[in-house]
Structure formats: structure tokens, C-alpha cells
């Protein structure tokens, strides 16, 4: 198996090959012997040259995080043979941008109406969860083209609340 891995913004090429005693792993060409087991879901025990690491995996709709001990790493994993992976790397930054709920909650009020102008970083929608109100801000300067969420509506993390263009 060959993977392109990005850890904290830095790319690595990782090749994995099953061997008799664990895995033969080449990281950017450097050979490392790895013994790995998954003792329970989302938990990985790695033994590398006698060093033991417990790694936990956390997957959200947007991110993959791996915790080595108590240190968190943001990770992207691509199979270089996949066309899709290459395409997504060149995602379009222009055009409409979504304003997404960061956490589940209830929409308290809208601060900007549809067709209203917003500056980058300006609050657009207030979402309340656990007695705390969180202002969700516009990712760019533009016009609020569409407001999907209504005041009082329950939303989940990742839900699109509005579109700014």
C-alpha cells in the first residue's frame, strides 16, 4: 500500500508492506519496522524499535485527528492512485462559501438578512447550545445569498446555515 500523508501541513510518502513480523514501512524512502495492532476500535498500538505508542483516532465530518499519547495531529490521508484525492487537493476557493454550524444547537437569531452585505469575520447567525450563544461569522466579504436556517431551528454540526457570495 502507498499513501500520501499530510501531518500538520507537512507531506510524507508512506509505503506499507506486510512482512512476517509485522509491517515493513518506508517513510519518505526510509525503512522502518513496525508492529501494529488495533486492540479496540479507533485505538492503535504501535511498536517501533521497542518504543511503544498508543494512538487514538478521531474522525469528524471535516477532519481526521490522530492523538499520539496526548498530542494531537491533524492528518490527511490520500491514496495517490485515486483521482478524487488529487482533484480535491485543488478545491476552489472562489465563489460561494457556506456558513456552517460548528456545533449542534438552536438558531437564536439572524444578524444579517438575505441579500445583506457582510464583511469577512462579521457575525451572521447566532447559535445557542448549552446556555452559551455563539456568533457564527462570515468567511468572506460579500452578499448573504441565502439563509437556510430560521430562528428557532435545531441544527447539527456541519449543517449549512447560510451561503455568502
Amino acid at each position: 500500500m502507498v499513501y500520501d500523508v499530510v501531518v500538520g501541513g507537512k507531506p510524507y510518502r508512506l509505503e506499507l508492506e506486510k512482512s512476517d513480523a509485522g509491517w515493513k514501512c518506508r517513510l519518505d524512502g526510509k525503512e522502518i519496522r513496525v508492529d501494529a495492532v488495533v486492540p479496540s476500535r479507533d485505538v492503535l498500538s504501535l511498536l517501533i524499535d521497542g518504543q511503544a505508542f498508543e494512538v487514538k483516532r478521531e474522525q469528524t465530518p471535516h477532519d481526521l485527528h490522530l492523538w499520539v499519547g496526548s498530542t494531537r495531529f491533524g492528518v490527511e490521508l490520500h491514496d495517490p492512485r485515486s483521482l478524487r484525492a488529487r482533484r480535491s487537493a485543488a478545491a476552489d476557493e472562489k465563489g460561494p462559501r457556506k456558513i456552517v454550524a460548528l456545533m449542534p444547537g438552536r438558531v437564536v437569531r439572524l444578524l444579517v438578512a438575505e441579500q445583506g452585505e457582510v464583511e469577512a469575520g462579521q457575525g451572521v447567525i447566532v447559535v445557542e447550545a448549552m446556555k452559551m450563544q455563539n456568533e457564527i461569522k462570515s468567511p468572506k466579504k460579500g452578499i448573504v445569498k441565502k439563509v437556510v436556517a430560521a430562528a428557532g431551528a435545531a441544527v447539527n454540526a456541519g449543517d449549512v446555515l447560510a451561503i455568502v457570495e
Partner: protein
């Protein structure tokens, strides 16, 4: 002894009270809102009954529904936990009227303590030291200005019915006073249904130290040492410890004796906490009395060897305290971390959601009181407290080391928690030196996190782990589709473009 107790609460405290009941051979009755059907406290109870929709005002705050469950289930007593109805005098009175024992003080004691201004008038008579200020609510902005002038700025505005920092405002100058007063009054009205606000001299960089008291119904009142609760954020406690790094036996005794006088002046019964502000010269001033079991009661339990919930139940059963003041002693050191569902990378905003992985800590000197479990969805409707992690050691140093070790073991995925915050606090120089005040945490957070662990593992380990996960556990990984993290943001660029076009 009671045969059955209803617990009018949820989360970790409901579970904690149920554990005590089971230890004592008492059956437990849980109540739950619609979103709490799968909550841990329902699973741990002997009986459980629904009491309405998610909003607390339609469920956990509904006196009528809770007393109806008590009647139907035959519960002889109600433990209110903390929050919700725990300091509601109407509820305590309604319990008496319904012939159910309320495990806590009487409605009269609560009413006296519930209003900070009334408590003050009473306590001053008992010789309890107070921060200089008005003992009555302010009647006008002009009066506020006059009093503030006399006390000297900075001053603190406080809601008479307040708690948890609601309706509190620190005012540095005369120009800020009027608008601060208005906002404190409206916040007090919204939060407590009472807009009475009073004014005090602000103590600069105070410590918040409180004394646990216990009183039986036979006029015996004891104090059980202090808890240092100076590490707070937005007036909410985050970390508590006992004993306080600055309290010596002599100061402890003096504070304890004042706390007992406070309790006696209010004819107080059952468990309560007397809160003090302590200035830099170690003068202490009465702040308020909390007429309930506190969130942070475990640190007192660990250092006194007592079980406060057992004692609450025995007291409510009409029994005498089984020990005297002299028979009590404090041993070792305990520190509690409040594990909240909140996002350290997003200004500590709440982070409800589903817990996909939970690895709780264990081992020597560790107590973990939790209301959460793996697979549970933390609802959006309540306080974000998930669990309390308490470390105990023969001294402060050892308690800190044990907690650091436990925090290293502790892992929660799916939602964000403030676990990393405690790793930071426990390793920080001022905390280690016991140099604490209520501004400590804000200052720490303002500094930003430059403290990158020296022994941080290499990113290369994470890179290898990412590949190994993809190979060994592809089922719950998206790697099979070619890309783990890219798939969510780009299922198809064609689709995205199409949607974007449709919005034009």
C-alpha cells in the same frame, strides 16, 4: 432509614447520589427529560420516569411533575443534587407539603441565604466579616454612584438572587457604572426573575476559598476544611483543591468557626458551603452560602475520608452527626478537574454531540465521577459538565503528578473537551507555586499556549499510524475511498458547482 429516594437531577451528580443510595441499600428513582432517555443516570437507577421535554423549565424544573413521580413511585425522600431545584425554597416547601423529605436545608434557611442582601443583614448581626458595601438592593443609579464614590473604585455589582456569575459586573470607573448597572439588572431579571442588584467594593485579585459545613437536625454543626476554588472562568469554577495552598491550621480554624456561625445564624441543616473571598493579606470576607451539595464536594470527601452524600441521607433521616469537630482531621491533598464538553480551540464554546471514543483514566489516587459513556450523545440543552476527575495524594505534589498521569490516560473523541487545559494548568509555574487568584485562568488563557511539550512525539509517528489505521481498520475509515479527510469536503466538485449555480 428511607427505602426509596428520588433523585431530581441528571448527569454525573445523579449517578453519584444513586451510587451512595445503592451502597446504603436504598432503592433509587430517576427522572428524565425526552433527550435523556439514554442518559447514564437512567441506566443506573432502579426506577425511572419521564418528566417532559428537553428544556429544563418543562422537565427538571417542574416541581409538580417531580412530586407526582415521587407519589407514584413511593419515594420517601428527594435528593436535588446541585443546580436545577436544589436551592429552590418553593420546591423544599412543596416536598414538605407532599410528605416527602427534602434532603437539604429547610425552605426558611434557603430563603434567607438565597437573597444575598437578606443573608448579609442577618450575618452581620452574627459578627461575620463582609466586604464593604450595601446590604440592600440599589434603588437608583444615583444611589449607586454615591455608594461607589464612598467605597472607592473598582466596585462590584451583584444580583441579590445571583449565583454562577450571572448578574455580576466589575466596574472600574464612574463612567461605566450606569450601563453596567442596567445590564446587571436586566441579566438578573432574566436569570432569576428578580432585578435586585447591590454594590460592593471589589477586592483586587482575590482568592475564592470556601468551607464545607454539615449540620444535623439536633443543633450540631461542624466544618470540614476548605476548598480553594480560585481557578475560574466567566465566574464558573474549573479546578478546585483541598486544602488551599495558603490556608494554615490557624486560618482554617478561624474560617471554619465563622462558617459554623453563618450556618447557625440561618438555622442551617444538612450539607452546605460557606464561600469567602480572601484578599492578598489573607483577610477573608463572607461571600455567600450555597445551600446544597457542591459540584466540588469530592475533594473534601477525599481529604476527610467522609462520604458527604451518605451523611446527607443520615442527617435527613433525623440522625445525629456521628462525629464531633475534634474527631475530624484533614489528610493528604485532593484536586478536582471539571471536564466540560467545550472546545479549547474555539474559545471554550460548548461542544455537544456524540462521544465516539472514551478512554477513562483509573489507577491509584484517581476518582472519576462521570455522567457520560462511549456512544452517548451529549445533549445541547444542559450544562456542559461531563465528568469530574479528582486526584488524591499524600501531598499536593503527588496529587498533581497523579492527575497529570490520569489526564494523559484520559481520552474523549467525537466531542471536544477541556482536558488539554488541565494539562496546561497543572504544569504551569504559578499553579505549582500555589499562586492563585480568580484572575489566574483568564491571564493564563490570554498568554496563549506557547507551552509545546518538550517530549512531544514526532509527526512521523502520526504519519505511520495514519497508514496503519487505514490498513488494519478500514471499516470505520474513509481511506478505502481513496481519501480519509478529503471525502467530506469534496464528495464531488461537479455536485458542488451545480449547487452553487442553482443558488445564483
Amino acid at each position: 432509614m428511607f427505602k426509596k429516594i428520588l433523585i431530581a437531577n441528571r448527569g454525573e451528580i445523579a449517578v453519584r447520589v444513586m451510587r451512595a443510595c445503592r451502597e446504603m441499600g436504598i432503592a433509587t428513582v430517576a427522572v428524565y427529560s425526552d433527550v435523556d432517555r439514554a442518559a447514564l443516570h437512567v441506566r443506573k437507577a432502579d426506577e425511572a420516569y419521564p418528566i417532559g421535554p428537553a428544556p429544563a423549565s418543562e422537565s427538571y424544573l417542574r416541581i409538580d411533575k417531580i412530586l407526582d413521580v415521587a407519589r407514584r413511585s413511593g419515594a420517601e425522600a428527594i435528593h436535588p443534587g446541585y443546580g436545577f431545584l436544589s436551592e429552590n425554597a418553593k420546591f423544599a416547601r412543596a416536598c414538605v407539603d407532599a410528605g416527602v423529605k427534602f434532603i437539604g436545608p429547610t425552605a426558611e434557611s434557603m430563603e434567607m441565604m438565597g437573597s444575598k442582601t437578606r443573608a448579609r443583614q442577618h450575618m452581620e448581626k452574627a459578627g461575620v466579616p463582609f466586604v464593604p458595601g450595601t446590604a440592600r438592593g440599589l434603588t437608583s443609579p444615583e444611589e449607586a454612584e454615591q455608594v461607589a464614590e464612598r467605597l472607592g473604585y473598582p466596585v462590584m455589582l451583584k444580583a441579590a438572587a445571583g449565583g454562577g456569575g450571572k448578574g455580576m459586573r466589575l466596574v472600574h470607573t464612574r463612567t461605566e457604572l450606569r450601563s453596567a448597572l442596567e445590564s446587571a439588572q436586566s441579566e438578573a431579571q432574566r436569570s432569576f426573575g428578580d432585578n435586585e442588584v447591590y454594590i460592593e467594593k471589589a477586592i483586587v485579585n482575590p482568592r475564592h476559598i470556601e468551607i464545607q459545613v454539615l449540620a444535623d437536625e439536633h443543633d450540631n454543626t461542624v466544618w470540614l476544611g476548605e476548598r480553594e476554588c480560585s481557578i475560574q472562568r466567566r465566574h464558573q469554577k474549573v479546578l478546585e483543591e483541598s486544602p488551599s495552598p495558603i490556608v494554615d491550621p490557624e486560618m482554617r480554624r478561624r474560617m471554619g468557626e465563622v462558617a459554623v456561625r453563618v450556618a447557625q445564624a440561618a438555622n442551617y441543616t444538612n450539607a452546605g458551603t460557606v464561600e469567602f473571598l480572601v484578599d492578598q493579606q489573607k483577610n477573608f470576607y463572607f461571600l455567600e452560602m450555597n445551600t446544597r451539595l457542591q459540584v466540588e464536594h469530592p475533594v473534601t470527601e477525599l481529604t476527610t475520608g467522609l462520604d458527604l452524600v451518605h451523611l446527607q441521607i443520615h442527617i435527613a433521616n433525623g440522625e445525629k452527626l456521628p462525629f464531633t469537630q475534634q474527631e475530624n482531621s484533614i489528610r493528604g491533598h485532593a484536586i478536582e478537574c471539571r471536564i466540560y464538553a467545550e472546545d479549547p480551540d474555539n474559545n471554550y464554546f460548548p461542544s455537544p454531540g456524540k462521544i465516539t471514543l472514551l478512554l477513562p483514566p483509573a489507577g491509584p489516587g484517581i476518582r472519576h465521577d462521570s455522567g457520560a459513556y462511549e456512544g452517548w450523545t451529549v445533549p445541547i440543552d444542559y450544562d456542559p459538565l461531563l465528568a469530574k476527575l479528582v486526584g488524591y495524594g499524600s501531598d499536593r505534589e503527588q496529587a498533581v503528578m497523579r492527575l497529570q498521569r490520569a489526564l494523559y490516560e484520559y481520552f474523549v473523541a467525537g466531542i471536544k473537551t477541556n482536558i488539554t487545559l488541565f494539562q496546561r494548568i497543572l504544569g504551569e509555574a504559578d499553579f505549582r507555586a500555589g499562586k492563585l487568584d480568580t484572575g489566574y485562568l483568564d491571564r493564563l488563557l490570554a498568554r496563549g499556549n506557547s507551552q509545546i511539550a518538550a517530549h512531544a512525539p514526532e509527526p512521523r509517528i502520526a504519519a505511520i499510524a495514519a497508514g496503519m489505521f487505514a490498513v488494519l481498520e478500514p471499516a470505520s475509515s474513509l481511506a478505502g475511498n481513496g481519501s480519509a479527510s478529503a471525502s467530506a469536503q469534496a464528495p464531488s466538485n461537479w455536485k458542488q458547482k451545480g449547487r452553487a449555480e442553482a443558488l445564483r
